[in-house]
């Protein structure tokens, strides 16, 4: 999923300061799962903003709404009835949701209330970790199901580097060495021989190197 973290409240307050009426929009997908921008967090931010402005003697009007999926125009359309009379939208979705709202409502400013972080998985309750950088040409089949692009600090396709110690990356004892994990996994699969095959320089055109990407499915596109 796409992970996100709520921005500091101060930053959100500064964004909405010039406005009287805002629409605070959550998303029921990834940001709900990572507890950053779902219905619950929309409620919390709404109360916090109201309290903060009340202290300054200002009554900020906040409409709250959480969409099923903020990156989907079909659902974003729901906002069209709510947006009338609103000075600004504060989106608690990932960057995809924020942009979809901005694309649909051209004359209303939209501010992000979360920082979109990465594509990751939940390691345990309350902890999410990066797993994929969307390079567009998946290597997991040759690296034992562990991605060195997303998980090696130096993005080495033929690691580990000389800084790996006790299974940890040199940048932090909290970061696993991806190549240590890959090696352990190759051993567990009986695929040690694969380690010495050199993975060639990557074609980054399938990733960000090729510019903004788009998927066109002729069979589905209207």
């Amino acid at each position: 999923m796409i992970t996100a973290e709520r921005k500091p409240l101060e930053e959100i307050i500064n964004c909405v300061k010039p406005f009287e009426r805002i629409l605070l929009v959550g998303c029921n997908e990834c940001v709900t799962v990572c507890a950053a921008g779902g219905r619950k967090e929309v409620g919390i931010v709404s109360s916090a903003l109201q309290m903060a402005f009340l202290k300054q003697g200002k009554n900020l009007q906040i409409k709250e709404h959480t969409l099923e999926r903020q990156c989907d125009p079909e659902y974003v359309e729901e906002l069209s009835t709510m947006i009338t009379g609103v000075d600004a939208v504060v989106s608690m979705a990932c960057g995809c949701g924020v942009q979809e709202v901005a694309r649909r409502f051209k004359t209303v400013p939209v501010f992000p209330a979360v920082n979109t972080k990465f594509m990751g998985a939940s390691e345990r309750q309350g902890i999410w970790a990066e797993r994929c950088q969307g390079c567009g040409d998946c290597l997991l089949g040759v690296t034992g199901g562990i991605c060195p692009i997303a998980r090696c600090s130096k993005q080495l396709l033929n690691g580990p580097c000389g800084g790996s110690g006790s299974g940890k990356c040199e940048i932090s004892p909290d970061v696993d060495c991806a190549w240590h994990l890959i090696w352990e996994r190759l051993k567990a699969l009986g695929l040690q021989d694969r380690y010495e095959q050199i993975i060639p320089a990557k074609d980054w055109r399938t990733g960000r190197g090729g510019g903004p990407r788009k998927i066109i499915r002729e069979d589905l596109a209207e």
Binding site: K154, Q155, L156, L157, C161, E196, P200, A201, K202
Partner: protein, 308 residues
């Protein structure tokens, strides 16, 4: 011979090669490069010029390498994949070769987090093994990484780094094998203090015959003080400093620690000269270049062979 490199000639002659290091200054001060390099003249076969080492901005290894070349020394152009993509790297390789630089060391580089620009983006378009492949292809096939022909291809003697002590230990020889398969002509290792562990590693290297395809130059760094020994032991990633080395440094009076450090390093060279598969030594006297002649002489590696 694959190249015109003096370092290659010394290695191919069967004599033990000696390389050292010159870290460029943090400013446009050519004189500092020349002063450091002059201390090494006559005592080493080639001088590594580091590339933004420890992720701190310095005069480029390319520019400092040209300064060395101009005074008749033989630079080893270090280059890291952290700061450049494959276009910039190949452009600099051609540029360096145009100025007569014919040795390279292909590295991934320290993470920016350790340096003075922690906010910088990492490039890592290619990794160090793919980098070795690229430089070898430029030389042997006369082709750019992208496949097009190169006019007057740069003939670089291609080096790589190896750390015999990093984890997982069982991969350390295998990773060297990958670098050799990629085309590394020589390897300079991480600083060696744990001689036994290094000898074990070399034994496995020789068992696989890697020393016959690639010249192995163990890295030797003299310790200046007990504090430096402790720092290297505890703070430098991938460094293996046995407690007995720290104790030995701490066991002498402070003003005698530098001399003890030199003694330890000369003893290490003498011992490793007997280690099968060694092709020479890479003496990295960090901000202590003036000690290199003394070490080279005491280690019985002077005078250097004349191969030109």
């Amino acid at each position: 011979m694959k190249t015109e490199s003096v370092l290659e000639k010394v290695i191919k002659s069967g004599r033990l090669a000696v390389t050292s290091e010159c870290g460029p200054p943090r400013g446009a001060v050519a004189q500092k490069v020349i002063e450091k390099a002059e201390m090494l003249r006559g005592y080493v076969d080639a001088v590594n010029v580091t590339d933004n080492q420890t992720a701190m901005v310095r005069m480029s290894s390319f520019a400092a390498g040209i300064l060395l070349k101009q005074i008749g020394l033989h630079p080893v152009l270090q280059m890291v994949t952290r700061d450049r993509n494959r276009l910039a790297m190949q452009a600099d390789i051609i540029g360096a070769y145009t100025h007569g630089i014919n040795n390279m060391l292909c590295l991934s580089g320290d993470h920016p987090q350790f340096g003075d620009h922690p906010t910088a983006a990492n490039v890592h378009d290619i990794d160090s093994i793919q980098f070795v492949q690229m430089v070898r292809k430029m030389r042997d096939e006369g082709k750019f990484q992208g496949g097009a022909d190169i006019q007057n291809p740069p003939k670089m003697f291609v080096g790589a780094a190896a750390n015999p002590f990093a984890d997982p230990y069982e991969l350390r020889v295998a990773r060297l094998a990958k670098k050799v398969a990629a085309g590394a002509d020589f390897v300079q290792t991480q600083c060696i203090y744990n001689l036994e562990k290094f000898e074990q590693w070399m034994h496995s290297v020789c068992e696989r015959g890697l020393h016959e395809k690639c010249a192995i130059l163990p890295g030797i760094t003299p310790l200046k003080s007990a504090a430096m020994a402790r720092y290297m032991k505890n703070k430098v990633p991938g460094m293996d400093v046995p407690q007995q080395v720290v104790d030995r440094m701490a066991g002498v009076a402070k003003e005698k620690q530098a001399a003890e450090g030199i003694k330890i390093c000369v003893e290490a060279i003498h011992r490793l000269k007997e280690c099968k598969g060694i092709a020479g030594f890479h003496i990295m006297a960090i901000e202590w270049e003036q000690k290199v002649p003394q070490i080279v002489e005491a280690a019985g590696l002077y005078p250097r062979p004349q191969v030109d």
